[in-house]
């Protein structure tokens, strides 16, 4: 098998970290940080997503082609959202 088997220990560590970040997200949510609240919430969600994609979904262990397929979806979503929001942010009206 070319596919390496991810150990149970790695999974458990990932799991613990995910739960920890969820608790942290929730606790930080109670503090009023102005617009930083959104940044922190979405940023931590991004970290969790990377952990899940990397370890649970074997993203860190897959071939280059598969990784490109993973990244393509995210990249294209960023293209769509950034070009659209640039329009909204730069309107006079």
């Amino acid at each position: 098998m070319a596919q390496p088997i991810v150990s149970k220990k790695t999974y458990a560590l990932t799991f613990g970290t995910l739960l920890g970040i969820t608790a942290l997200t929730t606790l930080l949510g109670f503090i009023d940080m102005g617009s930083l609240n959104t940044v922190v919430a979405v940023g931590l969600a991004g970290v969790k997503a990377c952990l899940i994609a990397g370890f649970f979904m074997h993203g860190f262990y897959e071939s280059r082609t598969v990784r490109i397929a993973m990244i393509a979806g995210v990249a294209w979503f960023l293209i769509m959202i950034s070009l659209t929001l640039v329009d909204y942010a730069s309107r006079f009206w």
């Binding site: 799991f15 959202i81 909204y88």
Partner: protein, 219 residues
């Protein structure tokens, strides 16, 4: 008994390794399309979040954080059991695979149960968009937009959960029929990828719907 290799290898492939890699790649391409599907909704959310910041934060403050956070934890647990299920499949532990698939299904069902309880509470609070919508703020139509996107996005997510439950159930049936072994378990891996992806979507939904306005939450 596991199926003989000749039956598992489809005729268009020349090696099991090629077949496994192709299937994984196909699944990842599918997940990319799913990212774009949800991406359209995240885009709509961002635009209206920019338009109506106050109404959206007020709407977010109205969410039930206890249920939301519990659900997030439940879903992360289910991802963990799914990952352990894939691990069992890889080492050929069929009984363990069955156990973990069943646990994942149960956790998924708990998630859906809590989600629909939440929907019911929203319904009691008149938070369902439409003629009966009520929201204690200066500008109900803007908060209505928040709840509309909330229902569409979490609803589409819940639909994906139902599909995931169906996939897991079919995996259990196939495992009981002895289709999987340490040599061949690609369908379990693919089912796992799907399940984790649905989890990732929820992680973001949790952040934008529950956390953003949490500091204004009234107890």
């Amino acid at each position: 008994m596991a199926e003989p290799l000749a039956l598992i290898l489809r005729e268009q492939f020349h090696a099991p390794e090629q077949q496994r890699e192709t299937a994984t790649l196909g699944m990842w391409i599918f997940i990319s399309t799913e990212i774009m599907l949800f991406g359209g909704l995240f885009l709509a959310f961002s635009v209206y979040r920019m338009y109506y910041p106050q109404a959206f934060i007020a709407g977010s403050a109205d969410m039930n954080i206890a249920l939301g956070a519990t659900n997030t934890a439940v879903l992360i647990c289910s991802s963990f059991t799914m990952a352990l299920g894939v691990h069992s499949a890889e080492v050929g532990g069929r009984k363990l695979l069955n156990l973990f698939l069943a646990l994942t299904m149960i956790l998924g069902a708990v998630f859906l149960g809590i989600k629909f309880t939440e929907y019911y509470l929203h319904y009691l609070d008149h938070r369902v968009p439409g003629p009966g919508f009520l929201f204690p703020s200066a500008d109900p139509p803007k908060a209505e937009m928040f709840f509309l996107l909330y229902f569409i996005m979490t609803g589409l997510h819940a639909l994906h959960m139902f599909v995931g439950e169906g996939i897991l159930f079919s995996m259990i049936l196939r495992n009981r029929a002895g289709s999987f072994s340490a040599e061949y378990h690609t369908p379990v891996v693919l089912a796992g990828l799907y399940w984790h992806f649905v989890d990732v979507i929820w992680v973001f939904l949790f952040a934008i719907f529950y956390i953003e306005g949490l500091h204004l939450h009234k107890w």
